[in-house]
Subunit: 226 residues, 2 copies
Amino acid sequence: MKTLRLNSNDRAVLLGSCFFEKLPAAASSAILDDVVVSTHEEHDILFGQGEALDQVFLVLSGLVRLYRLGKDGREADIAVFPKGELFGESAMFLGNRATANAQAIETTMLARIDSRRLRKLAEQTPEIADALMQLLCRHAQMAEDCLAEDRLLTAPQRVASYILGNCPDGITNFSFRLPFQKNVLAGKLGLAPEALSRAFSALRRSGVTVKGRVIEIHDRQALERF
Amino acid sequence: MKTLRLNSNDRAVLLGSCFFEKLPAAASSAILDDVVVSTHEEHDILFGQGEALDQVFLVLSGLVRLYRLGKDGREADIAVFPKGELFGESAMFLGNRATANAQAIETTMLARIDSRRLRKLAEQTPEIADALMQLLCRHAQMAEDCLAEDRLLTAPQRVASYILGNCPDGITNFSFRLPFQKNVLAGKLGLAPEALSRAFSALRRSGVTVKGRVIEIHDRQALERF
DNA sequence: CGGGCAATTGAAGCTCGTCAACCTTAGTGG
DNA sequence: CCACTAAGGTTGACGAGCTTCAATTGCCCG
């Protein structure tokens, strides 16, 4: 891991991210004042469950996976964060201890924000507090969505749901590229890689073709009915 | 559903709840200024997924279940809120739309707080904003915990984990009473009632006895190893 | 004592995880 | 240009774990 200062490109990514987007410029630059940038290789562990954690992270490039470990060493993914996502914010309110592990899935650049300072800024600036609440809310929703899908849907249905989530409304014919390896998608959906493979096979009958990372939907209706 | 004003007992429950506990008195009474109380029978639906929702709820007595519906009518529990818990707060930040259904599991009294007003108060009062962030964080964690347990643990392990969560540290012999029907516990753990039953059977061999709603642990170590 | 509901138990079926083998692709070096 | 390798992905076979349905037991409150 190397640490750097913030360059202008990084700054653009930060300001364009979901969290900073709606903040007034003054608030943003107050936060960005002492941001540090770090780079990580694929498979690098960013922090581990239970460790002290006094920073909040924003993905400048690459991909980060949040997961927990079972007693037997098995891993369960909680979330996957692409470029522009802020994560690690919950430690801020839970005694500065990480509640999960974080790992870089690809070569990744992170912006690191001091959480104590951010919290102080949130006290002084209602807009920042509001942005934080929206972020927490979004993350809570993501987890609840996952939980509900895990409990209500079968593997092919979860995959169908993921595909539909990437397909604009009112279009029957559509194609898009997975933003990561199938491996990662499987983890995100709570499936073994083999199960994901079989799910794709099952969806072929409903007009889904998969070539490498490219997914084509030929009949949106059929997917929705699945 | 009947609606009432706030009496002194309700007020005590509110002020003693996790959310209000740490708030300065001025902030609390500002919020409680226009609180309304409503009563509900067992099985009453409090609100439904997708409905407009401009209130936040606090359980004064009884029990509330948050759940989502699958296409086939099956239900997946997201959370169960006992007395003193605040819920429905996420709608505040997501366009005032409920993202799940809520149902009274028992005869229940709710305090209803206008969410627009609460949000305004949060802007003006950093302590309220902070309490909200902690609440959101706790709820996010609860969902993540559930998700991780669902994915990492078998049914008996999840039940063991639930029992251990109700058993103070450093004690080998312990007994407590379930705060709700086994039915509800099954839902909370993402199990069919039959599966919960079988899980209890399996745990008998590890020193857990169940009589009605009373659970006895005779060997904490054995449970932890499970 | 009996009705009704929760809880338990049994049997059957389905979904998914696991293990192993195989295929495909890309990258490497002769 | 082609053989070789390595890693991701796919397929098959099998078993574990949970759901479902059905029947039974246990329990509370009339």
